[in-house]
């Protein structure tokens, strides 16, 4: 099965396409692929409990590794204890790690 790194830089408050991209992560994971969804920039906003957090929570509960860039979180004042269940803060190094591992990497 494939290994995927999906990087979401956009947020559902601003972009309707962000939901489709995150849903793709879920579809890939359900098919048995290894999937990391890495949230960066405004993509971390729904990682703080909000009206648009339910999709991320569902993904994290269903085989998608959902990570949020520590730098972006700090920049937006989102402390780790405000993160929704299943989302973990992570350094951007993870993206370079997974690129180096050869994961299929898609930035949205």
């Amino acid at each position: 099965m494939g290994q995927y790194l999906l990087i979401e830089s956009r947020d559902p408050f601003d972009s309707g396409d962000a939901k489709n991209f995150c849903e793709l992560a879920g579809v890939l994971a359900k098919l048995g692929h290894t999937v990391t969804l890495f949230l960066v920039q405004n993509g971390v906003l729904p990682a703080r409990r909000s009206a648009h957090s339910s999709l991320l929570e569902a993904l994290a509960a269903d085989k998608v590794e959902v990570l949020a860039d520590e730098f972006s979180l700090q920049e937006r004042g989102i402390s780790t204890n405000r993160l929704i269940s299943g989302v973990k803060a992570a350094p951007l190094d993870v993206v370079v790690d997974q690129l180096a591992q050869g994961r299929k990497a898609i930035w949205h």
């Binding site: 920039q41 951007l92 993206v95 690129l99 180096a100």
Partner: protein
């Protein structure tokens, strides 16, 4: 020392407009610190990232003169990551898309940046362990 890799990044955004420029530079910097060989294909507005004529300015709103404001200049970041990669046994090959340079009048780039074409992007991507395209919105 981490195993040496070759990564290619394509970027599209000009500096000072959105967060993608700084995130791209953060990724390139991480790879440079690891001593990777790094290719950058700057497409469209991204050809302004290494533009040599970027200049600092004061900030009267904050009461800063030029020195106090110390405004970041992405061209300095490009020079810095090129140096950082070399220091760690890697290199940065920064290619500005030539036609994008022409239409923007952005030919005056910092040292270490060369002019290229989409064929260069394909060639870099084909020779890399991985390639990440960071699109504009």
């Amino acid at each position: 020392m981490a195993e040496k890799k070759t990564l290619t990044f394509a970027t599209m955004d000009p500096p000072f407009e959105n967060a993608r420029t700084t995130t791209a530079m953060r990724l390139i910097d991480i790879a440079a610190r690891r001593g990777y060989d790094i290719n950058v294909f700057a497409y469209e507005g991204a050809v302004y990232v290494p533009f040599a004529q970027q200049a600092q300015h004061p900030n009267a709103v904050h009461g800063h003169d030029v020195e106090a404001e110390d405004h970041p200049l992405p061209r300095e970041w490009v020079v810095a990551v090129i140096k950082e990669a070399e220091k760690n046994g890697g290199k940065v090959d920064w290619v500005n898309c030539g036609l994008c340079v022409d239409e923007r009048g952005a030919a005056d780039s910092v040292a270490g940046v060369r002019r290229g074409t989409p064929a260069d992007f394909w060639s870099m991507a084909s020779g890399s362990d991985n390639t990440l395209v960071i699109p504009t919105k």
